[in-house]
Symmetry: C2
Subunit: 283 residues, 2 copies
Amino acid sequence: MTKSPWTEHPTRTLRWRPGDRLDAVDPRATPGYHGGKRAGKRLLAEHGAELSDLQERLFAHGRTGGVRNVLLVLQGMDTSGKGGIVRHVVGMVDPQGVRCRGFGRPTPEEQARGYLWRIRNALPDAGLLGVFDRSHYEQVLVVRVDALEPPATWQAHYDEINDFEAEIADAGTAIVKVVLAISPEEQLERLVSRLDRPDKHWKYDPSDLRAREQWDEYQAAYQDMLDRTSTDVAPWYVVPADRKWFSRLAVGELLRHELRGLDLGWPAADFDVQRQRRLLTGR
Amino acid sequence: MTKSPWTEHPTRTLRWRPGDRLDAVDPRATPGYHGGKRAGKRLLAEHGAELSDLQERLFAHGRTGGVRNVLLVLQGMDTSGKGGIVRHVVGMVDPQGVRCRGFGRPTPEEQARGYLWRIRNALPDAGLLGVFDRSHYEQVLVVRVDALEPPATWQAHYDEINDFEAEIADAGTAIVKVVLAISPEEQLERLVSRLDRPDKHWKYDPSDLRAREQWDEYQAAYQDMLDRTSTDVAPWYVVPADRKWFSRLAVGELLRHELRGLDLGWPAADFDVQRQRRLLTGR
């Protein structure tokens, strides 16, 4: 048993609490963690096996009548590393048990049905780990910053979202909500490096610059979102994301903790094991 | 550059050809491959990086207006290793670009809408790698063997399926269809080992024994399926599956070959890179 490099677990250090200020979060920090980058990467890989085992239990549970599932909601400014979390953390478990969904600008059909329609449609079935790359929270982020709805409309979404999440939590969904907090300086580096690499040009969208110019408005929108929608059933975690290895390690830990919390054993056989053995082997 | 352990590539050795007999396939064989198990596992891992790169190109292509996608169809008797292919081969690429779907017994709603409805619904979007664990082919396998439809009905499905696949191939889907060929002896071992391990009981279904008792009927149904639905746009590959490492290596190769065949470069920037750099950096 190696000594844990965590002095305090991310479920505590990163959890949003009333009175917290987003502008007080240092995106380069590694709260509660005193190992380095190499140890962090190794730790994530080590925990991958347990994450994979826990996810398989969840899947098995879903296949035998269980209703639990897990939803990981990822929010953050462009280049904050949402895709990297999917690839490097979620990528450690069996893809059979994973449903990833990215939410871009809604289509006219989606628009017409209300913002929660496509969200509800994309919820993971029982036994699955669902991952939202952006989510219903865009409705109080880009929609607010770009004034796509009048204030009274988007302001009503906070309560609607809380009600929605309480409802799905009640139905069996464990919700893990993560904001990846990146600094504008780090974002600049990542955007420039996308421009430097032709194999990354497809990830670059000139309109991303607009959101970058609205940085302060977005920070204000995130602050209000965190204040208004971090609930007991679906708390927010703010994960410093200037160091990719730390954000991945931290989200891996949050997921592992959530899956462990479901306390799922392997489903018991609903058949007579000895009898089946006799039927199979003739002995 | 290491010398290839393939004397002949699986796209040639495993491809179903008119006149082929399923009962002539040796499930323990490793056609065209002269490396051992360890080398095979290493090779799969090595090719994982390329598979991952190719899949990302496909994804990038889909995000920039491209219509191509890939559909891997997995068929095979119980315990033939379909799930292992998903975990160990598909699991090597970014889950963001993957849609896995398993097809069990249809629900009454699905039943009412015709067998291709749920299949069409589950087709991967542009840029994605879709994986079907069982598929529309159950309609000429279990449906035939268990006489769930009169012969004239299920016999009509061969042509319907060919038309359906020609249609989606035309629309941009590269289809890779795989039958995992396992021997009854190996299946027995795998079923018994599921009974031996409480963490595998959830995978065991007493009704699997029924399909095992119908082995010859299933082989006949597979033979006809292969004869009737292996087309130029959507050929079948029969992969010997008694050695899991070989079937995984072979399916990895088939996927790699298919993705390479799409010949996708990185999408070109649709913006002025220098201008964006100036806007970003002020220089």
